[in-house]
Symmetry: C2
Subunit: 401 residues, 2 copies
Amino acid sequence: MLQLVDNGSITSVPGIKAIGIHAGIKKKKKDLAIIFSEVPAVSAGTFTLNKVKAAPLIISQKLVYKEETAQAILVNSGNANACTGEQGELDALETTAYCAKLLNIPQNSVLVSSTGVIGSRLPVDTVIKGIKNAVPKLNYEGGLDAAEAIMTTDLVKKSYAVTLQLSSGTITIGGICKGSGMIMPNMATMLAFIATDAKIEKNVLQSILLDCVNHSFNKVTVDGDTSTNDMVILLANGLSGVKIEFGSDDYYKFSSALLFVTQTMAKAIARDGEGASKLVTVNVTNAQTYDDADAIAKSIANSPLVKTAVYGQDANWGRILSAAGKSSANFDPAKVTISLGDLPVFKPNYTICLDEDLAKVELEKDEVTLKVDLADGTFSSTWWTCDFTEGYIRINARYRT
Amino acid sequence: MLQLVDNGSITSVPGIKAIGIHAGIKKKKKDLAIIFSEVPAVSAGTFTLNKVKAAPLIISQKLVYKEETAQAILVNSGNANACTGEQGELDALETTAYCAKLLNIPQNSVLVSSTGVIGSRLPVDTVIKGIKNAVPKLNYEGGLDAAEAIMTTDLVKKSYAVTLQLSSGTITIGGICKGSGMIMPNMATMLAFIATDAKIEKNVLQSILLDCVNHSFNKVTVDGDTSTNDMVILLANGLSGVKIEFGSDDYYKFSSALLFVTQTMAKAIARDGEGASKLVTVNVTNAQTYDDADAIAKSIANSPLVKTAVYGQDANWGRILSAAGKSSANFDPAKVTISLGDLPVFKPNYTICLDEDLAKVELEKDEVTLKVDLADGTFSSTWWTCDFTEGYIRINARYRT
């Protein structure tokens, strides 16, 4: 039984404390978060594929791959500590050293993450003062504050938790994330920090996370751009005592619960894309191969012409078909059915069956689903994106990332 | 000696007549063009790689590949005759049959091309009435009218001609094109019709055209989207008597003259991108391979974050470096120099040398050049794009293509 926790967050997970404060990196808003597990937690992570990697990302990636466990995550917004070279790594390590000292844990169990402006040196003194202020305030309800402190151009906090009944007891999965612009697959995506009290081996945890990220965060696009900083971290502190063995029933239940959490987060990120007014789900079915389905769904989700048409509530199936056609995928246009929600607008043999009034009803919704049935095989893929509005341009012409 | 012709057009080429009229496909604007060569002309063409190909494109592609020559091009705007299936081809053939009859030439020497709304049946009667009206008006100064009649959301007519002194005489190359939104490489680009009076074999003409298109139209992107209809056609009617042999001095002179014409057209298309306020040139140098240079230049030219930053006159080198990083290319970020025009803003070893005042001067220009020196090899690539403004969203949320 999977159950969503009201106002759930990463601190819904037993043994996880968090806090988010204003340290002074940004003018007024919260800009520093710490997440802390009472006991060392098995760590897993996925990291940007951008060749330009931010200093904190380089450090955290090494730690997740090298160390069995981690116990804290130090996150700041307002400064990405990216394109800052060796100095950037030294700066980040100075902050994790201080954080480890105050938390009384080894430095190599503190992961670090940053988001914000690229190419400015991290204001180390400000961060250190912030850590000093934040650590005593760590608490079991601090998840929502932490969610707020990691936001950049996000308009809403993103924070979720579920409980899951397994054969030997109940476990919790909770997390916070941030997204908005510069979102695109291959984990060059956004920040997400997830914790669970399940007891699970490192390699199993890593493989479940990878799989879930591939079907959630890596299927979200706002503008096709990818960032230097973005990562997903999953900590499993084992405090529930509920052990999850590879291949067991509980393993599959846990995997699908984590998938639910990561997809919920991914959709929230798409819906809150810069300037977005709608969540757009692109669902491609009956392709010859998974790669074909995925390439078409991605191409449609990334198409500015499709996204502006959704914004304009224009039932422009031609742009959808054209976006499918420009992908690398194999399909036969004459077999294609295109639907808005459950309303077909284009049927096989190039049959146009668009009812503008009914289409309008679909396109006025806050959540629009574009379905493409290729009638060519058995594979499918779903992507999430948002519509494309003047707001995106305004935000990005003025905000220096 | 390459010389630009004042108010040059496709009709600057001896033996080429053209006309552009209002046939009634659109409400008021010109929407039908005919280009006619007095004598059969050797034809070459490149066509969209989109898997969804419009009916006229399918017909013209077959003719260019199968027939040695062509003598006329029939073009309409306002209706793309795309996603119209077999009926679309029948409709297009009805119009070329009629056009051929009036011109007194075989039907298989009439190429056909359409641009505009996808998925509506071509109004054949309107087109036929237009042809009847247009053919008697064909004239040696009609190139600019034809350039106007092929426009969709273009704001300016695009029409050019050059003369070129070769060893045995002077030849002319002239052309018209249209672009605007839905522009992206691999010839899923736009419409361009070019003619020359040089005398040249079909396979030589085709290979020169392919090469020129690869370094001009295929390096232009407005929004990363690609269309179902777009093609470049080159007709060589030989009326100058100047023969161009493969590999001769004249061959290279002719090739570089055609490259000049196609690059001039490509840049004009980028500058007139939907909502654009600036032409942006992305120049990547000193890559390990051509593919690396090209992938990085393309990734930067396609990045909405880079394009909105240029619009906002924000010297955001971080977004440029990040866009380079998300490409598939190999490079070492620590070796990179990024310049705005000739002003370096980011030097090797992550050295930021941004002078905001000087950068502002560069970014206020109508033409902005973003240079990325990888210091890693000898290969380079140049792409053209435009900035990304609220105008793009407005146009595409409201215009049904």
